[in-house]
């Protein structure tokens, strides 16, 4: 019997999702799958992620995972986004295996965010 389905990290992130919101004018990615919806937005300056924001529709693990992603990558370089894997978040949040699919929606959204950032950089370069 799995007594508490949410560990302390999930509870903290769910209670206070500090990165909830949209970063105006930044790169935006949206993904919907398995009944989950995630939107990520980022402000990038000189190859560095200055700010990350998220919105999410889903279970507490999905919401906490999005918040965890934002906390992890704010301040890091865009290049580092390549390294993003859900495995660490799955571990930190003790996500039950049957929810793996849902957390992978976050991976898809992050990939899509990377592409959006790349797009903007390319576009800006073309400006």
């Amino acid at each position: 019997m799995n007594i508490d389905p949410y560990n302390a990290v999930v509870r903290a992130y769910f209670d206070c999702p500090e990165h909830m919101g949209d970063i105006g004018g930044g790169a935006v990615a949206f993904f919907e799958d398995q009944g989950m919806r995630i939107r990520l937005s980022a402000k990038v300056v000189d190859g560095k992620i200055k700010k990350l924001g998220f919105r999410a529709w889903g279970c507490p693990h999905v919401i906490a995972a999005a918040e965890a992603f934002c906390r992890q990558f704010e301040g890091r370089s865009v290049a580092e986004l390549e390294e993003f894997k859900t495995s660490q978040i799955m571990g930190d949040l003790a996500v039950p295996v049957e929810k793996t699919g849902r957390i992978l929606v976050l991976e898809d959204t992050v990939r899509s965010l990377r592409a959006a950032i790349q797009d903007r950089i390319t576009n800006q370069a073309q400006d």
């Binding site: 799995n2 389905p5 949410y6 509870r11 769910f14 999702p17 909830m20 935006v28 949206f30 919907e32 009944g35 919806r37 995630i38 939107r39 919105r55 999410a56 529709w57 889903g58 279970c59 507490p60 919401i63 049957e98």
Partner: protein, 387 residues
């Protein structure tokens, strides 16, 4: 109520705390007469007396003879014994059975098991308010129909079926009629002398009795194949040492219910009215279940664009249920709400508030603000779909 310092409990349809008179009686029995009632000695006979008194008390609640009561471990066992027992006992006569899609798992899964064993089951759908029109039953009855099982009060929505009419349709065709009364016994008046019911399941812990004990009313010795075999207890229908203290507790819970059902219902009606009033202006709120009528201890609501599991967490420390209380940890959207025509997403947002004898007006106000806050929070979190 117990544990109230840590949380506010609003899941009385899942289980109820012990009534204090029940707890007291159980303690008395444990200290004086908790032996084997099948033993032919003084201690055994004292215990047998306790069991008989409990049967009398339950008989009064249901208006039946104490002899027609079988003790079980709960409604799950009562349902299994009634349905498997009747179907197997009558298998040579015919293999058609009827039940509803909105039954509890402890009925649905039994019929599923029977389907695998060669029985044919008709799964009746209710109207969107949860009610089963008697004509749907009548038009489904066949010459080889052996058993119909319909629940009295739905555990998720509180809808109350018209047991008198449904039972009459069965009687006309000489078909056995089983009713899962787990959510009704001790909570609304149930007169089994007046209702055309052959088998009626109940469980003590839904009406302030102990967990681990239930009963099956069996009219006129309706023959059933037992689920279990063993000693000669209970006319070989259900062997095993009787849990005398639990049975005594069930008896007192029944006695308390007999005198308090009317007051309970009046109080719950008021509380449910206030709860609904306090949240009904929330945009997109849907009431799952009958708009009017229904059992006043249950209010099931959904809202658009909110996930039920997150809603539950956001409402802590309020204890309510998503989906079916009996298995709230499963993430599947409630099959009951799906049968009422809700989409998966709507069903997934459903929250069941269930109120009980200890529920206070303050609990209701807390629930209202907690629900409003949680919906607001989750909606703020949810992304719009991109245009």
């Amino acid at each position: 109520m117990p544990g109230s310092s840590d949380f506010v409990y609003m899941d009385y349809a899942a289980t109820t705390p012990l009534n204090s008179l029940v707890a007291e009686r159980m303690r008395t029995v444990q200290n004086s007469a908790c032996f084997n009632p099948a033993s032919n000695h003084i201690a055994g006979r004292q215990s047998a007396k306790v069991v008989m008194q409990a049967a009398t008390e339950l008989g009064l609640l249901l208006n039946v003879s104490p002899d027609s009561i079988l003790w079980t471990s709960g409604a799950t066992e009562s349902n299994n014994l009634a349905i498997l027992g009747a179907a197997r006992q009558r298998a040579h006569r015919g293999k058609h059975l009827i039940t509803m899609r909105t039954e509890h798992k402890a009925v649905i899964d039994v019929f599923r098991a029977l389907e695998k064993q060669g029985f044919e089951v008709s799964w009746l759908a209710p109207k969107p308010d949860g009610q089963l029109p008697v004509e749907r039953l009548i038009s489904t009855l066949r010459d080889d129909t052996q058993l119909v099982s319909i629940m009295h009060i739905n555990n998720e929505t509180g809808v109350i079926q018209d047991i008198a009419a449904l039972g009459a349709a069965c009687k006309e065709r000489d078909v056995l009629f089983h009713v899962d009364g787990a959510q009704a016994a001790g909570k609304i008046p149930v007169d089994l002398a007046a209702l055309p019911v052959d088998l009626y399941s109940l469980t003590a812990h839904k009406f302030y009795g102990p967990k681990g004990v239930g009963a099956l009313f069996v009219a006129n010795g309706t023959p059933l194949e037992p689920l279990m075999f063993g000693g000669g207890q209970q006319q070989r229908m259900r062997p095993g040492t009787l849990p005398v203290d639990l049975i005594a507790g069930l008896g007192v819970a029944a006695a308390v219910a007999t005198t308090s059902i009317a007051d309970d219902l009046a109080k719950l009606t008021g509380l449910k009215g206030r709860l609904l009033q306090g949240i009904q202006d929330i945009e997109g709120l849907q009431v799952n279940g009958p708009a009017k009528g229904g059992y006043p201890g249950i209010l099931n609501v959904g809202v658009d664009d909110v996930d039920g599991e997150s809603l539950l967490l956001a409402m802590e420390p309020l204890c309510v249920a998503t989906g079916s209380a009996c298995n709230s940890r499963s993430q599947e959207p409630s099959s009951v709400l799906r049968a009422l025509g809700r989409t998966d997403r709507q069903a997934q947002s459903a929250i069941r508030f269930s109120l009980g004898r200890p529920t206070t007006a303050a609990d209701i106000e807390m629930a209202i603000s907690s629900y409003r806050h949680a919906v607001r929070k989750l909606r703020a979190l949810a992304p719009e779909r991109p245009a």
